[in-house]
Symmetry: C2
Subunit: 386 residues, 2 copies
């Protein structure tokens, strides 16, 4: 076999659902030399990373650290630690990732009630209250930012509601952390997971999680071992906690990356970052509207970082996305599941939530969709007045 040649990734502008481009400082951090996973220097790096994660999650939860795998492993970590056979769980699903949570929760042996509604609709608190009242689950799982539909699910009051029924609230923040407010303590979230490659501006590979004291108490009351050894919080936390007991070999370089990504987030400041995401979203939205593109998510529930829009009549999904990739080296996302071929997903996340990304994409889309330049004008109008 002839060996493959040198790595020469094409320089993309990644405006899909993630990964988003990593910040150049993060990429630079990844080429630093390794240290051992029990090296005093690395233990300090772990402490600093965990402490910055707490800031970003707005929590004092002791158990706050990155799972050594991608976002979906974070979902699994939350569910397999909190659920065991005989438990009841309710999972809210109005999109692809809600559906996935049902699958993952079901594999714990818990009885899962799927609370479904049409893709793209946020859940009402009343409906959730009724379900909590009738099912009395140990866990309620919900997606904060549904990556398949671009819907923001309001969860500000949900933790309080869950706690009325002694239910633990598990939140999927894969697409929200670092882009829009996530307030773990104030919103009384009991377990939460995210990823590294979206709002935090790092490559994919880690899943930051955080667990409340209520969650830890529930885990301590388990009757069975956690089914996953790799994701068993009782032992991972001994490595990330003060004991420093060897569990697995931490992915050193990915932790370097996350630490640098978190530093960049906190240097900017969370509020400033959220506003930046909102402003670029509004400019993009104005531009898309000028070209006649409409959002899947209802007004008031649209995610600034994930713009799911209907593919306009007269245009096909794949040729446009291929042209964007090949001619302009811009990636946008296709629709998932029932939205395949009907929806595009445009990400403006972390490092890539910036005017140049918005204007570049609108300019290229204008060319592909035979626009008249009004998209750029509309976006710039937003930039001028905000």
């Amino acid at each position: 076999m002839t060996l493959p040649g040198q790595l020469t990734p094409p320089p993309r502008l990644l405006l899909g659902p993630g990964p988003s481009d990593a910040h150049p400082r993060v990429l630079a951090a990844m080429s630093l030399p390794l240290v051992g996973h029990l090296d005093p220097y690395f233990l300090q790096i772990m402490n600093e990373t965990a402490e910055m994660l707490r800031q970003v999650y707005r929590t004092t939860n002791k158990i706050t650290f990155p799972i050594s795998a991608t976002g979906m492993a974070g979902m699994e970590a939350c569910l397999v630690n909190l659920l065991e056979p005989g438990d009841r769980a309710v999972v809210c699903s109005a999109g692809f990732f809600g559906g996935r949570m049902i699958d993952v929760a079901g594999r714990t042996g818990a009885a899962v009630t799927a609370m479904e509604q049409p893709w793209g609709q946020p859940f009402s608190m009343d409906r959730i209250r009724e379900t909590l009242q009738s099912v009395r689950p140990k866990v309620l799982g919900i997606v904060h930012a549904e990556t398949s539909t671009g819907v923001r699910q309001p969860i500000e009051e949900l933790g309080k509601l869950c706690h009325e029924f002694d239910t633990l609230l598990v939140v999927d923040a894969v697409t929200s952390l670092g882009c829009i407010p996530v307030e773990v303590d104030r919103w009384e979230i009991d377990a939460i997971y995210s990823c590294s490659q979206k709002g935090l501006g790092c490559p994919p590979g880690l899943s930051p999680v955080s667990f409340s004291q209520r969650s830890l108490d529930a885990i301590n009351r388990r009757k069975t071992k956690v089914q996953s050894w790799y994701l068993d919080l009782s032992t991972i936390q001994k490595y990330w906690g003060e004991d420093r007991v060897y569990h697995h070999t931490a992915p050193i370089t990915m932790v370097y990356a996350l630490r640098e990504g978190l530093r960049i987030v906190l240097e900017e400041g969370l509020e400033v970052r959220w506003k930046r995401h909102q402003r670029n979203h509004e400019a993009l939205k104005a531009g898309l509207a000028a070209m006649g593109l409409t959002y899947v998510a209802p007004e008031g529930y649209q995610l600034p970082q994930l713009n799911a829009v209907r593919i306009p009549e007269g245009f096909d999904d794949l040729p446009i996305r291929q042209r964007l990739l090949q001619e302009f080296s811009i990636e946008i996302g296709s629709g998932l599941g029932e939205f395949k071929g009907k929806v595009w997903r445009i990400g403006l996340m972390g490092f890539n939530s910036k005017p140049t990304a918005v204007l570049t994409l609108l300019g290229a889309l204008d060319q592909c969709l035979s626009g008249n330049g009004s998209a750029i004008a509309a976006a710039n109008e937003v930039y001028r007045r905000t």
Copy 2:
């Protein structure tokens, strides 16, 4: 909170049980820009990586790819896909990682027979045959290179033996791949896992696995879903295989790293690489012997890449390791479990299996253990004649 400063990892020489230093070309590959996980360029990178992995594993197994997490997730992936409640498994354990395999296998709900013997002893084929005969397990799990004891378990004939009893052979190659021969097809191995940070010269973060057709047939006959969604082969293989169905977001940068690491392995050639590991091991061993240090593993079963030696009388574990780290910036490993405080583990893996590493360590150890320079002389004697 004041933000932590810039990352400044101390330049270590990593001679512990792993991570070993990554090759500089691998570190450079990690700072390349991201592409999407479904980008045509990345799909090509995945194909090339899988094909090189097949070469390194010496297999034509279609299902050969890196799990998106560290080595221990590879162990879990093999066991949770092959085992379900009601199955029987035998796990051979004569060290820390054999013990861990018992724990992981037990969490599948299978009935696990732990075949234990004193740490540091290889298993005899006769004993394994007797156990297979009496238990008739679906799976036999064994560690090829036991990282806690430095013992090489001969497994050349084990696959054939297992297949006499319709048993699937699962092999832990975490510390062997890229350092000593691993012949998946010739040895009839049914499922195997390794890591990125040892013999392959990459950072930790991925676990290359390979599954035989026998394994896939067994998986197809499962009555229950695989308990782990993240590690469920039936869906991951659709992403790594021809379908390219989205499962999780691959850790792009880590795959870049692995691809570069595998390229370096194959450029050198496996046989040359194995000889290099053997030669540096012999030099190290001669030097350690000159200082009176003895191996845990019996003669003929010593791993060249993981030298577990007894801490000499009159010296304490921690002060010496701390001095090596602080004065010389060299990391060696402590003993695990029952070997804690009694054993040092010296890794010469991948990029770090080289004369400069051997001589540097021996020189520093000579200073710490009040030697007379005979260690260096003994090592150089080996180098001169081999």
